[in-house]
């Protein structure tokens, strides 16, 4: 297992190395920590935390990672793994899904593409019209269930083919388009869906829901210590590392986050709101 980490400044790379040493995470488990440049067309000016390059770099991993890496699992920093990820790794792009470029877990709330491309003000019709103008002979099914890109498997070999590069180019075109129209507000998520849409398979592989269970304030059966990956999304509640440790919402985060926070405080690293 190898980690590939992307940060915006050198000081973050230094902090991560310090934290790893404090936690006893072997240095050899990290292949690289890359400081990535800001790129104007990534920045949809909606929410500062969704606008940084490290949020969008997941979409450009075929370029950012060495060509001998053919597959990668992206994890957001507000998830914890509660099980071995080998099963998840092997569930993607095998058998009938070998031609797929993107694999992810469909949204549990069932929200569709129409919702994702419409943003909060429900202006998906603007997107649909622009899509039909750009591709007169192509249809997009906006009733498909959208996915959450916090746990994202990418078939890099597929995305480096001619069709895959085309998918990336189209995705970038739409990112720039959205800068002007501000049609959607979901950061990298709608773009990840477009990447899947323009890829060879024209869709994404649906992963088992247990690999991205999103926190909800209402009781959920699959929110437990046996689920593969738990995910604390941005708004409800605040991020676990900023929460009061006695919050019920972070009880499954604490077994991992508590020793990390002890190291973080010990090293005197900066704290604040995101």
């Amino acid at each position: 297992m190898l980690f590939h980490i992307f940060v915006t400044e050198d000081k973050e790379a230094t902090a991560i190395w310090q934290m790893m040493e404090c936690m006893g995470i072997p240095r050899e488990s990290v292949a690289r920590i890359v400081v990535i440049e800001e790129r104007d067309y990534y920045v949809a000016q909606v929410r500062s935390d969704l606008s940084i390059s490290t949020n969008f770099v997941r979409l450009f991993l075929p370029e950012e990672l060495p060509s001998d890496i053919s597959k990668v699992l992206w994890l957001d920093s507000d998830v914890v793994a509660q099980r071995d990820l080998t099963e998840l790794w092997h569930s993607a792009f095998e058998g009938q899904y070998s031609d797929f470029a993107v694999a992810a877990v469909p949204r549990i709330d069932g929200k569709d593409y129409e919702y994702t491309f419409g943003g909060k003000i429900n202006n998906y019709a603007i997107f649909k019209h622009a899509f039909e103008q750009r591709y007169p002979h192509r249809k997009i099914d906006l009733s498909k269930t959208a996915f959450n890109a916090a746990v994202l498997l990418l078939n890099l070999a597929n995305l480096r083919t001619e069709q895959g590069r085309h998918a990336t180019e189209e995705m970038v075109w739409w990112a720039k388009w959205n800068l002007e129209t501000k049609c959607w507000t979901g950061g990298s998520q709608p773009l990840a869906m477009l990447l899947a849409e323009f890829s060879q398979a024209g869709d994404y592989q649906r992963l088992d829901p247990e690999w991205n269970v999103v926190y909800s304030s209402t009781p959920q059966e699959d929110w437990n210590e046996k689920t593969g990956i738990l995910h604390w999304t941005w708004n409800k509640p605040i991020k676990p590392w900023l929460a009061d440790l006695r919050q019920q919402s972070i009880e499954f985060w604490l077994p991992y986050g508590y020793p990390v926070m002890k190291c973080y405080r010990k090293l005197g690293l900066p704290e604040g709101d995101i």
Binding site: L2, F6, A15, K71, Y256
Partner: protein, 86 residues
């Protein structure tokens, strides 16, 4: 005498071959384990989250001779935050 020497050499060669074959046979049978590549991203304020994600993955990903090392004890509901972190 010559026969004994030849026989001894023969026995040594055969025994060594069998032992070496037994030693390397399982290794030759098992395919090389595929490396799982995991990408993460963070700015400074997300570093605690990123390291927590890494740590959780490390705790569960299969590695020979490694065991789960979670030693967390749930905090008492009456304790304050500073009791845990300071």
């Amino acid at each position: 005498m010559r026969r004994v020497v030849f026989f001894s050499i023969f026995v040594v060669v055969i025994t060594s071959t069998v032992l070496l074959a037994r030693l390397y046979y399982p290794w030759q049978l098992s395919p090389p384990q595929e490396t799982i590549h995991i990408a993460l991203g963070a700015n400074m304020l997300v570093v605690p989250g990123l390291v927590t994600t890494m740590w959780s993955v490390q705790q569960h990903t299969r590695a020979p001779g490694r065991s789960l090392t979670l030693s967390y004890v749930p905090p008492s509901p009456l304790a304050s935050i500073s009791d845990f972190l300071d």
